[in-house]
């Protein structure tokens, strides 16, 4: 079983956290922090396994991680998982991300953490490996994207327009403008 999947950057900022066992938010943060400290002090050319996360796991659990450029992908697994198998799985995960985002980089994960979750959900479900065949995974993701696009249709047009506009590097102030009175004003209109 996989107990948790964590992705954080070289500074320990979480980019994705998925716990398959319940921890409250504070504990989750502590786990991320501890895991980061354990993993980050290791050099790049050492092995990808380590024991001894005190918060997560126990004697039966291992942290298996891979370090890609600015990101750490850490899986916390018990002894029923094959160590090398999980390493492969991380590779599959990253390659899938790469396909979905076209040359994935940290920014993609930062801004589309929800999408990353959806992708991960096609690989792992409830702590168990769901699918390891990348084509299969990609197909499913594609189909679901289509479904979303279809739904979006016309109703999403304004939203899309807005987000397009927003992405056009408009100064921050405009974006942060709030129009609290507007809905009230509309409500007050009488017919």
């Amino acid at each position: 079983m996989i107990k948790a999947i964590l992705v954080f950057n070289n500074h320990g900022k979480p980019r994705l956290s998925k716990f398959y066992q319940y921890f409250n938010e504070d504990l989750q943060q502590q786990i991320i922090k501890e895991t980061f400290q354990l993993v980050s002090k290791r050099e790049d050319n050492v092995c990808n396994f380590l024991e001894g996360g005190s918060l997560i796991g126990g004697s039966d659990y291992k942290l298996i991680y891979r370090h890609y450029a600015t990101l750490y992908f850490v899986f916390c697994v018990d002894s029923s998982e094959s160590e090398l198998g999980i390493l492969d799985l991380i590779q599959v995960f990253v390659e899938t991300l790469d396909k979905c985002f076209e040359n994935v980089c940290e920014l993609d994960l930062i801004f589309h953490v929800d999408k990353v979750h959806y992708i991960l959900n096609e690989l792992v479900m409830g702590g168990m490996v769901l699918e390891t065949n990348m084509n299969e995974i990609l197909n499913r993701i594609e189909e679901q994207n289509k479904l979303e696009n279809k739904e979006a249709g016309i109703s999403a047009a304004p939203a899309r327009a807005v987000s397009a506009v927003k992405n056009m590097n408009i100064p921050q102030q405009i974006k942060d403008i709030k129009l609290p009175d507007l809905p009230q004003a509309i409500k007050d209109l009488k017919f």
Binding site: M1, Q29, E43, L130, N167
Partner: protein, 1003 residues
């Protein structure tokens, strides 16, 4: 209406979406907290809107904030709202948030049941998939119970995508709702041969997880897995299967033998390292499980070790790590073959990777011999000087000590060396927190190895000297504790007690725990010095010593620690009394000298003080007697006084009392179990006849025998035939003449202890006559006890199976482990068919569920039929596969006969069942409630009745075949237990299943 829509859209235009939130947080690095709290306010605003799109936007942002550590449970209701949307896009956001923030104790979950059911039955596979994925993260017992049927139907969905997810989901359902396992299992088994590789892989995955915790229930699937293993090429699945076999082989050695060949082939043929590694691992497990006797063993081990060597030599650190890991498994059973690779392992100690060094250290443990111990330890100590990181240093330290101390210091030929090493370690690692280990070792060695005492004590006094003369910490404080104690305890071995006393008096700033040891031992040293001076009649020195000592002690009187104060004042008072006495003697002596001044020299020797008459001697009486180590289990061996039968009921039972006494030894948890006492409980209390009581008692004993968590006495445990015919009178009971005399009863386990100690004694005396182990002198009333059990032994005292240390400690954890409840023998047809009417339900529930049950019934009947057929099929399969031709097959046959017999009970004995049902429904009413309070005791009572009923039935039946009846009664026993578990309430199912066969953990 239209306006509302427009309004929503306009708002959305200006709402911040997730991207904006992320960007905002990045732009407000300095006051992130403030920015986020502002965003939270916005989100709360948005959640108040009616527009689901707005809400989902808010929820998406919340999900992001949750990752950053913000609690979003307050938005649970809104999340559910978004989940209920018709649009996949929005729903998806809701389900994601739910999977991230909900957990099985969320109260809101009950709101989701119907919604999720709707999704599960949706036409769109992604709707169902979404719900399944999310549900897997937060499923609760209630959800599992209510949805298990729906998920079960999904197993036969036409879409592999759904099947796959449903299969995995079933595992989560089992964990929360173990009762689902039995009805679902046949389907799950089918999925092992699903045409879709993904589904198949998922099913393998689930069965592996199940089997990992309760392997014996899945032995019958071995042929299926064997087939899969030899025909499939999906590495992922192969790894799982091979891992599963690793778990199964310890239970069925014949399986292991069959496995070796294909596994060896795989090892030779595969190019995938992950697969290769798992194959090696399983081969190792097989080899461990087969206790020698096969000639080609050596070859297999050799192959494994060779392959592992290749892995370890690989430049890939991962392979190196795994190689070492697997090597340590071989080490336990075949140390010789690993020892051949000592060079390689020592080399790994130099590795820059800490994980690898730690693994290598583990291996080192098995590498040492008498010859190379010193060399290896020296290397390790060199390492320690260089090593960085406290974790690793601590590990090194404890490993050094472990290596040396293993097997009662088996490998140590020179204890002077060892003491020196310990002192060196203490000086090297004075900052470490591992001091207590070293201190314990020092004390242990000195106490147990008499010959080393002079050396060790003087070494210790040096340590104290160094400590006294330097101003900085140069040694672990804990070691001072050991030194002070040893110097005091074995003061006669000290060369210069007075100087040691002076060093000890210079203590400063010690922790309380150590200071009190100092105080106590200062007194011991003082007594010794006093004795020496008295004999020498050097009263001036005594005075001087008294002055110094009492001055220091007066300082300690001011200590803030109460314990220190107390000891200091006691010591001080004692010194004063002694000093008074000394003064008297001094005067006397002065007088004597005056008197005899002119007399001849001949009389003088008579005034010479001998040891026994010194004042010091009376002080030393306080510390007289040898301290001996006590075996951790010694307490257990104190014989039970005559006339005390621990199994006897203290009072003749009304049922309630028996239950309370049951709960005492059955489940401590019961003490804390909130019993919902109903006022009219007494009314239902049935009168028990004497016969019934006997039955109850027997049943309870039987249960105790089967209950792995019941700590039995050793004598009882030894009685393999079960405790049914166990007679208290048969145990030899020694008289207990307390308080002075303590007779230690020899038990069977003692024999091993004696053997072992004898062995190790021999070995030691061979290796060096120097070390003698102290035997505990057992003061006993009888004379023939020369070979009284040696109680000191040993780190490796044999632990009775029910009473392993971990067991008693982690019993609480075990209770939490959901896998215990999944320990269900799946080969047996469900007994619940016959009992379906009886599950414990309140009347309301019963009404609600009758419909459902009817459905269940039909289904079960089907299942039953298939169960009837399936065993022979399984048999055929086995024969075809030529897998487990001999024993397993027989087992299967047995099984199938069980099944038939069982079916007869179920189908043929309808009458009896009717009767039973009636009886049950009568009894059930009153027992239901009682069970709540005392499931353990009552369960057994029931069991007894059931059993006896079965017995009478059985005698009516024509089968006289002994084998059959025997196995049958066994079956009934099992089924009875299952029945017991069935009627338990949900929250105590764990306890209930504790009764059934023990789940063994794997090494």
């Amino acid at each position: 209406m239209a306006l509302k829509k427009v309004k929503g859209n306009i708002e959305r235009m200006f709402d911040k979406n997730l991207t904006d939130l992320v960007r905002g947080i990045r732009n407000n690095k300095e006051n992130e907290v403030k920015y986020i709290s502002q965003c939270m306010e916005d989100i709360k605003q948005e959640l108040r809107q009616d527009n689901l799109a707005v809400k989902s936007n808010a929820i998406a942002k919340l999900t992001y904030l949750q990752m950053l550590g913000y609690d979003i449970s307050w938005a649970g209701f809104n999340i559910i709202e978004v989940m209920s949307s018709n649009k996949f896009t929005l729903k998806r956001i809701g389900y994601l948030a739910a999977s991230q923030s909900f957990h099985c104790d969320s109260e809101l979950l009950m709101l989701t049941t119907n919604m999720i059911r709707k999704e599960l039955n949706s036409q769109n596979q992604f709707d169902a998939g979404l719900a399944l994925t999310s549900l897997s993260c937060f499923i609760s017992t209630d959800l599992a119970r209510d949805l298990s049927q729906d998920i079960l139907t999904l197993l036969s969905s036409t879409k592999p995508y759904i099947r796959k997810k449903a299969v995995l989901m079933m595992y989560k359902v089992f964990l929360k709702y173990p009762e689902a396992l039995r009805p679902a299992f046949p389907k799950l088994k089918e999925k092992l041969e699903d045409p879709d590789p993904g589904v198949q892989s998922a099913a393998v995955n689930v069965v592996c997880e199940l089997a990992r915790k309760n392997p014996k229930n899945y032995l019958s699937l071995a042929p299926v897995f064997f087939k899969l293993m030899t025909t499939k090429t999906n590495n992922w699945m192969l790894i799982k299967i091979i891992k599963l076999f690793g778990a199964l082989t310890p239970l069925e050695p014949r399986l292991g033998k069959k496995l070796i060949e294909p596994l060896t082939n795989l090892i030779h043929s595969t190019s995938a390292m992950s697969l290769l590694y798992e194959c090696i691992n399983t081969v190792i497990a097989v080899l461990i499980s087969i206790s020698s006797g096969m000639p080609n063993h050596a070859a297999s081990i050799q192959l494994c070790v060779q392959k592992l060597r290749i892995l370890i030599e690989d430049s890939d650190q991962n392979l190196k790590y795994l190689g070492l890991l697997a090597m340590s498994k071989i080490l336990k059973t075949h140390p010789k073959s690993v020892q051949a690779h000592k060079d390689l392992i020592l080399q790994c100690l130099e590795d820059k990777d800490e994980s690898i060094r730690l693994r290598a250290l583990d291996l080192l443990y098995g590498m040492v011999s008498k010859k190379n111990l010193m060399e290896i330890v020296k290397k390790l100590m060199l390492h320690m000087e260089k090593a960085e990181g406290t974790l690793y240093r601590d590990e090194l330290l404890s490993k050094i000590i472990q290596i040396c101390a293993q097997n009662n210091y088996h490998f140590i030929t020179n204890f002077e060396w060892y003491v020196t090493v310990l002192v060196e370690l203490a000086q090297m690692e004075f900052g470490s927190k591992q001091g207590h280990i070293i201190a314990d070792q020092l004390i242990d060695v000195c106490v147990r190895v008499t010959a080393i005492r002079p050396f060790a004590v003087n070494e210790m006094s040096q340590v104290l000297d160094v400590y006294a003369s330097s101003t900085q910490f140069t040694i672990m404080q804990d070691v001072l504790y050991a030194s002070a104690w040893l110097c005091g305890e074995f003061v006669t071995e000290l060369q210069k007690p007075e100087s040691t006393l002076i060093s000890m008096l210079k203590y400063k700033n010690l922790p309380q725990k150590i200071e009190i040891v100092f105080l106590q031992n200062i007194l011991k040293l003082y007594a010794r010095c006093l004795m020496l001076y008295e004999i020498a009649e050097d009263y001036d020195k005594i005075d001087g010593m008294y002055e110094v000592t009492q001055k220091k002690l007066r300082n300690s009187l001011k200590s803030p620690e109460i314990e220190v104060q107390e000891r200091a004042s006691t010591t001080l008072m004692m010194l004063e009394i002694v000093q008074e006495e000394i003064m008297k003697r001094k005067e006397q002596k002065g007088n004597l000298i005056d008197e005899h001044e002119d007399e001849s020299d001949e009389t003088k020797p008579t005034t010479k003080i001998d040891e026994e008459h010194t004042v010091a001697a009376s002080l030393m009486v306080l510390f007289a007697g040898e301290l001996n180590p006590v075996a951790p289990k010694a307490q257990k061996k104190v014989p039970v006084p005559e006339g005390l039968d621990l199994d006897d009921l203290i009072e003749e039972p009304s049922l309630d009392e028996s239950s309370s006494s049951d709960s005492e030894y059955e489940q401590m948890g019961n003490l804390f179990y909130k019993s919902e006492q109903k006022p009219d409980r007494e009314r239902y209390q049935p009168e028990l006849t004497e016969e019934e009581r006997v039955k109850i008692r027997e049943a309870r004993k039987h249960e105790q025998a089967n209950n792995p968590h019941y700590l039995k006495g050793a004598a009882k445990r030894d009685n393999d035939n079960g405790s049914d015919n166990y007679q208290v009178e048969d145990i030899p009971i020694a008289e207990l003449a307390l308080p002075v005399q303590l007779k230690v009863l020899s038990k069977r386990s003692d024999k091993y202890l004696n053997l072992e100690s004898g062995k190790s004694k021999k070995k030691k005396s061979k290796s060096k006559g120097k070390e003698k182990r102290k035997e505990k002198k057992v003061e006993s009333s009888t004379d023939g006890e020369d070979d009284a059990p040696n109680v000191i032994v040993s780190q490796n005292i044999e632990i009775p199976e029910g009473a392993t240390l971990s067991d008693s400690e982690s019993s609480h954890d075990n209770m939490d482990d959901p896998h215990r409840a999944l320990n269900i023998d799946l080969d047996l047809p469900s007994f619940e068919e016959s009992l379906v009417g009886h599950p414990k339900l309140t009347d309301k529930d019963e009404k609600k569920k009758t419909k459902k049950h009817d459905k269940h019934d039909k289904k079960r009947i089907k299942d039953k039929k298939s169960a009837k057929k399936s065993p022979p099929q399984a048999e055929d399969l086995i024969i075809n596969d030529l897998l487990l031709v001999d024993e397993v097959e027989q087992n299967q046959q047995d099984d199938s006969s069980h099944v038939k017999v069982q079916d007869e009970i179920l189908v043929g004995d309808n009458e009896v069942q009717e009767k039973k049902k009636k009886k049950h429904s009568k009894k059930d009413k009153d027992e239901k409630e009682k069970r709540k309070h005392r499931h353990a005791g009552d369960g057994t009572a029931d069991a007894g009745k059931d059993k006896s009923k079965k017995k009478t039935k059985k005698s009516k039946r024509k089968e006289g075949d002994k084998e059959n009846t025997k196995s049958h009664s066994k079956n009934v026993g099992k089924l009875k237990m299952e029945f017991d578990t069935l009627v338990k309430t949900d929250d105590d199912y764990e306890e209930a299943h504790g009764i059934s066969t023990p789940s063994k953990e794997f090494r």
